[in-house]
């Protein structure tokens, strides 16, 4: 860490600058406090690390490749590497976190697992690890998302999970998260809540970030093999709540020569009223137990975001990212539905990879921002597009 650089990690009180904390009802305090007191201790146990690493290797298929995207690089006249989280078991980065949290839940003696999901990737990743460990699994999912991510709903059911539709509010990720939190309030003793992104009350954002940090840990040695240096000039990731981004940035946060780019979903356009570009449209507030940037009315009511990609359709960002935004450490860019869809299809044609629409947002920055020919740009390809086939089919009339 360079001497006069700010700290971008969580502090001992659970804050990133002014963001973070644990704004939770008293009913949740015992559970969250138990986790807070134990998570670092448990994660530091050699036995835990061994089991985590082993599962990431043998079950998830890590390390995920760092792939030099030759044709994409030629097209945009810069050096583009894709971190292939799409090749993980279950098709996205989400499983890194669920493996870590299921091991944590077992250490804490919990045998009932709940989760929220937007795109269904986190729900599938949670259902998967619950099947693996033989634990009961309940997934809350917005009614709208259940419709637009039908294959993932079927997957969760095949894996033995119960999928409960969230019928309140906008019936998307925000409301699924509310329902999961309410479930936890009503089941205070034997239940662990596996949050799927770097959001929620402390210690969740930090714990999720640490489980996802394997992404940047691998990028470092992989890039060294490719380029002879650990540090790229840019690292890029899309942000829903910010877990793939947090993992992609983690080991670079305090490397001054690495530029961080965070890509948000602009939906139909930032000023269209149908957007999820929190860094532009949001201000400080409290959502799902933490203080962060969030989209809200002047009156403090949380507004309903929109993005074509269910995984980015969230009115806040994790508190770490709010801090990166506020301090200027990360550059935030906003990509519309159309731009993302175009870039998604482009990756199919140029590289033979069908990306998740979330990840396609990160790829679309090359149309907006010019990089130098010898810049090394690492993009987190957070997931594969299988779950989005219906959306692709409808959008492109395939």
């Amino acid at each position: 860490m360079t001497k006069n650089m700010k700290n971008y990690n969580v502090n001992e009180k659970g804050y990133y600058g002014e963001f973070g904390g644990a704004y939770i009802p008293e009913m949740l305090y015992p559970n969250v406090e138990e986790l807070r007191q134990n998570y670092l201790k448990v994660m530091a146990e050699p036995e835990f690390q061994k089991e985590f690493d082993q599962l990431l290797k043998d079950y998830v298929g890590r390390p995920s490749p760092l792939y030099f995207a030759k044709h994409l690089s030629e097209k945009y006249n810069t050096k583009i590497y894709l971190k292939r989280e799409d090749l993980n078991h279950t098709g996205a980065h989400k499983i890194n976190n669920t493996i870590g949290q299921i091991l944590m839940a077992k250490r804490l003696g919990k045998h009932r697992i709940i989760a929220e999901t937007g795109a269904g990737q986190h729900g599938v990743a949670t259902a998967t690890v619950c099947a693996l460990m033989g634990l009961e699994c309940i997934v809350y999912m917005g009614e709208i998302d259940i419709k637009r991510q039908a294959p993932n709903v079927a997957r969760m059911k095949m894996l033995g999970a119960t999928v409960i539709p969230a019928l309140s509010g906008s019936r998307t990720l925000k409301d699924a998260t509310n329902e999961a939190i309410r479930d936890w309030i009503n089941n205070p003793v034997n239940t662990h809540y596996i949050i799927g992104s770097a959001i929620g009350p402390h210690p969740y954002p930090d714990m999720v970030t640490k489980f996802q940090s394997v992404i940047s840990e691998e990028i470092k040695w992989q890039l060294k093999e490719h380029e002879g240096r650990e540090n790229p000039d840019y690292i890029v990731a899309c942000i829903g709540g910010g877990s793939n981004a947090a993992g992609t940035y983690y080991h670079y946060l305090h490397e001054e020569d690495v530029n961080i780019i965070a890509v948000e979903a602009a939906g139909l356009g930032i000023d269209s009223g149908e957007s999820a570009a929190t860094s532009v449209l949001g201000k400080a507030g409290i959502i799902h137990g933490c203080k962060t940037l969030l989209m809200q009315t002047n009156d403090g009511q949380i507004t309903e975001p929109y993005s074509i990609s269910a995984g980015l359709d969230y009115p806040g960002v994790g508190p770490m990212h709010a801090h990166l935004c506020k301090t200027g450490r990360a550059e935030f860019m906003a990509i519309t539905d159309d731009e993302a869809m175009k870039s998604g299809l482009e990756l199919c044609k140029l590289e033979g990879i069908i990306p998740a629409i979330e990840s396609a947002h990160a790829l679309a920055i090359f149309e907006q921002k010019i990089f130098k020919p010898d810049d090394v740009v690492v993009v987190s390809l957070s997931g594969r597009g299988d779950k989005d086939l219906n959306t692709y089919i409808n959008y492109f009339n395939l």
Partner: protein, 254 residues
């Protein structure tokens, strides 16, 4: 002396009622408050609706959603309440989530409460330690009592801590749940009520969650200074409208 503290001194069991402001109609707020007082309710919790009420079950969620749709905002509520002390004498508490207060500005919010004659606040998602560190002096400056929740899972040590920071009453949540989830009390609850009773806390306790009728009110107040009814009242208003409050309150008290 704050009206809440005065009320707590009365030699009787207290009935506190929660309702969602702006529900069922935007302009029902004042008449509901007046009718509740007229029919013998001791303390009123005015719910400031929030888009994402994490600690609430379907009944209060639905009433909040509709109240917001009706146009309820912090400004509108304050405006409706500006003359409330001309007609109402019992303690009034605003219950709401932290974000709308945070956006209004915590100090501005507290100041406005004092001007209107609000006596206290219940903010389920403002944790005790954050309150203590950042906001307690502001609340005290404007004479507001902040009410904290405890649950059957709250440790004795933490209850003592909460007791030390409280200066009105402690909201004893009957079972760890969202509002309206459970009705009635079992063995587990009565043991918990007894355990808290035996702690001889400085602040009296008022039981909330799971109280819906005369039987549960009587049961809860065997162990506590009073009881709070929320979802059951909101349901009543949903079914009967805002003009049959006497029936509801009579059914609880008699």
């Amino acid at each position: 002396m704050n009206r809440i503290n005065q009320k707590l001194k009365e030699d009787k069991k207290l009935l506190s009622i929660y309702f969602t402001a702006g529900y069922p109609n935007i302009n029902d707020t004042v008449s509901i408050i007046q009718d509740l007082e007229k029919n013998g309710v001791d303390i009123i919790e005015i719910g400031l609706p929030f888009s994402d009420p994490l600690a609430d079950g379907p009944t209060i969620q639905a009433s909040s959603t509709l109240a917001l749709k009706n146009g309820m905002t912090t400004e509108v509520l304050f405006d409706q309440l500006k003359n409330i002390r001309k007609s109402v004498n019992i303690p009034l508490i605003i219950m709401g989530y932290f974000n709308p207060m945070f956006q209004y500005g915590v100090e501005a919010f507290c100041k406005k409460c004092q001007e209107i004659g609000i006596d206290g606040l219940i903010i389920p998602d403002l944790p005790v330690d954050v309150y203590h560190e950042k906001y307690q002096t502001i609340f005290e400056k404007y004479g507001l009592i902040n009410v904290f929740l405890i649950t059957p899972q709250t440790s004795d040590e933490r209850i003592r801590y909460i007791d030390s920071i409280s200066n009105g009453f402690i909201y004893m949540v009957s079972s760890a749940s969202t509002t309206g989830a459970k009705v009635g009390f079992g063995e587990e609850q009565t043991q918990y009520f007894e355990r808290i009773g035996n702690m001889n806390l400085n602040n009296p306790q008022i039981v909330g969650f799971g109280i819906s009728n005369n039987q549960t009110f009587t049961q809860a107040t065997q162990y506590a200074k009073g009881a709070i009814i929320g979802s059951a009242f909101v349901k009543h208003v949903t079914n009967e409208g805002a003009n049959s409050i006497d029936n509801f309150v009579n059914s609880i008290l008699n």
